[in-house]
């Protein structure tokens, strides 16, 4: 028997599904070639059986490719608002930030991060957010106990059926769980996100989030039946994208990626981000190589006001279309796609560009100047992204426009190539190349990598 025939036995077709809030997108992959055979989408059937939309999308797909028998069926989901989370910590730049990073790395839509002792209006706010999960941290192991216990009590009082993952001071974790379970909340303990001062340990929290997603959220979101038809567990879509970005960076080197969505703008960076300029001291929490941040106030539809405010308060005011008609159109249909070339489409582009600008500015590190008796000295907070070679665009508002590169340009630093540190310098990429997810395959490739990493790498290589 020859070798070729041996490998054929394994070959087949893989279906990758992305249950989005608006569309269910499907990708058919041939493992033999390896290549993408086709992609299709159909409106997500929310409220009824989510498999309806999936079947419609697959029908459309097989109309292009002919009938296929799938050896693997993989799925990610951001339907029903995705995995909605709130992070709670003690000091904003320490455990609150660590909790936020942990939740983001699990693919959650982190709507907001709270710090210090929660108060009544913050309880209200959390109630209004209706998170699926809350990540509760605070205190290093053996450190502060009061605040995490206070916050456990405050969370216990909120009448809402979120589950709580406790990832804080181990000496207070059991008491915190006790308070929460007594109030009827599902609460689990995992390792501290910051067991030792300034040491991040986000893996236990990430694993706990993923476990609860499988155990509870899938069912709560009506995905249980669809999950049974898949050959692997369903994961949050941003987690699939995150894993695809990690893969992409194996190929392209350091990258920065931006995903502009209806409710949030997500930013991913795959790089060390150590200072590139001489005489700069790194400060703050150590930065993870693979980092994801979620901006819950920067969305194209659900949370567009921050972006609209930013644009209307800028100097371009005179060129703006009728904003009220734009707002009305967006509000009456969150999936609104303005006709190509229309004033609304133009405004969409401005909104997307602004989202990319603000979200990457928040994600990137910056330099702070300290004036000393011996002149200026510089501290770097966060990652230096100036040397990043590629900026990657993800998400409808970037991909489905005439000029994705002009939107992505906002991820680069406006003052090209700073060679000496200057005051308040934001460390965004200096002169990157721009690429984007033309065929909408990144989440599919992230899923595929869970089955066959080399295959996913080869397909990404040929598609980009």
């Amino acid at each position: 028997m020859n070798v070729r025939d041996e490998s054929r036995k394994d070959s087949g077709f893989i279906l990758a599904v992305d249950f989005g809030s608006t569309f269910t997108k499907v990708v058919a992959i041939s493992t033999e070639k390896p290549e993408i055979l086709g992609t299709a989408k159909s409106p997500t059937t929310i409220g009824t059986d989510i498999r309806g939309g999936l079947n419609n999308a697959v029908k459309e797909l097989t109309a292009q490719t002919g009938k296929l028998t799938f050896t693997h069926k993989l799925a990610a989901s951001s339907a029903y608002g995705g995995l909605k989370m709130v992070a709670v910590g003690l000091v904003p730049s320490l455990t609150a930030k660590a909790a936020n990073l942990a939740a983001c790395s699990a693919g959650a839509k982190v709507v907001k991060t709270f710090s210090y002792e929660l108060n009544a209006s913050e309880q209200e706010e959390i109630h209004g957010i209706q998170p699926d999960l809350i990540l509760l941290s605070g205190g290093t192991d053996g450190g502060n106990k009061d605040v995490i216990l206070h916050n456990a009590k405050k969370l216990a009082e909120i009448e809402s059926d979120f589950a709580v993952i406790i990832a804080g001071n181990k000496s207070a974790a059991e008491d915190a769980r006790e308070v929460l379970t007594r109030s009827g909340k599902h609460a689990v303990i995992c390792g501290n996100v910051m067991p030792v001062f300034n040491t991040l340990d986000t893996l236990p929290a990430r694993d706990a989030i993923n476990a609860l997603f499988l155990e509870k959220i899938i069912k709560a979101k009506g995905l249980a039946q669809a999950a049974r038809e898949m050959t692997m567990p369903i994961i949050p879509t941003p987690l699939a994208v995150f894993e695809c970005m990690q893969l992409l960076s194996e190929n392209l080197g350091d990258i920065l990626a931006v995903d502009v969505g209806g409710a949030t703008t997500d930013v991913y960076s795959m790089c060390r981000g150590a200072p590139t300029l001489p005489g700069v001291t790194q400060k703050g929490l150590p930065e993870p190589f693979a980092k994801r941040t979620v901006e819950g106030d920067l969305g194209m539809r659900h949370s567009q006001e921050t972006l609209i405010d930013k644009i209307t308060s800028s100097q371009f005011e005179t060129k703006l279309p009728d904003i009220e008609s734009y707002r009305t159109a967006c509000r009456s249909d969150y999936a609104y796609i303005p006709p190509a070339g229309s004033p609304h489409a133009h405004f969409d582009q401005m909104l997307a560009g602004t989202a990319v600008d603000i979200a990457t500015t928040r994600h990137a590190g910056y330099l702070e100047t300290a004036y000393t008796p011996f002149g200026e000295s510089f501290y770097q907070m966060g990652k230096d992204l100036t040397a990043v070679k590629y900026v990657v665009g993800i998400g409808g508002p970037i991909i489905y426009t005439d000029d994705p590169a002009s939107i992505l340009q906002n991820a680069a630093t406006p003052t090209r190539h700073a060679t000496t540190p200057t005051r308040d310098n934001v460390l965004k990429p200096a002169s990157p190349k721009f690429i984007w997810d033309k065929k909408y395959i990144f989440s599919a490739m992230g899923l595929l990598a869970r089955v066959d990493k080399q295959l996913a790498l080869r397909i990404l290589e040929s598609e980009l």
């Binding site: 000091v91 730049s93 106990k145 910051m194 001062f197 001291t281 000393t372």
Partner: protein, 139 residues
């Protein structure tokens, strides 16, 4: 381990890195849980670290002569952040040149430090004082 946590670092834009390594080592040997923030530490960093780790004391080192400027306001910020009456210690070469230490000490005690040490003070002296102040080894 004596159950006490101390946060330490070299304040301001000061880069003298050797002394704090020795200090951190000596306090660890003596049984303290040491959170060493290293050099170029801002006032906020001491405070945030002390909150998160529930520290029992803050130890400030300053060697380049500008300690007076860098330390001013630290006590007030601690009060503001809820670190009420946290013991604070300072040592190193606190001011430029050879000023009378009694004068220097007065300035730093007025600023809210519990104790201030002259140049060349051995870590052991600080360890003895801080252990006593924090009641280490006492029932």
């Amino acid at each position: 381990m004596n159950g006490k946590t101390v946060v330490m670092g070299v304040i301001g834009a000061d880069v003298h890195a050797i002394g704090i390594k020795i200090l951190s080592h000596a306090f660890t040997e003596a049984g303290f849980n040491v959170v060493n923030l290293g050099v170029m530490v801002s006032q906020e960093e001491y405070i945030e670290a002390a909150i998160e780790t529930n520290a029992d004391a803050i130890i400030v080192s300053s060697l380049y002569g500008h300690g007076e400027m860098d330390c001013r306001g630290l006590r007030e910020k601690c009060e503001e952040a809820g670190l009420k009456d946290i013991p604070m210690y300072v040592g190193g070469n606190l001011v430029v040149g050879k000023r009378d230490f009694a004068e220097v000490e007065r300035i730093f005690l007025e600023m809210g430090f519990n104790r201030a040490y002259p140049p060349g003070t051995a870590p052991e002296k600080g360890i003895a004082d801080i252990s006593k102040d924090l009641g280490v080894g006492q029932p």
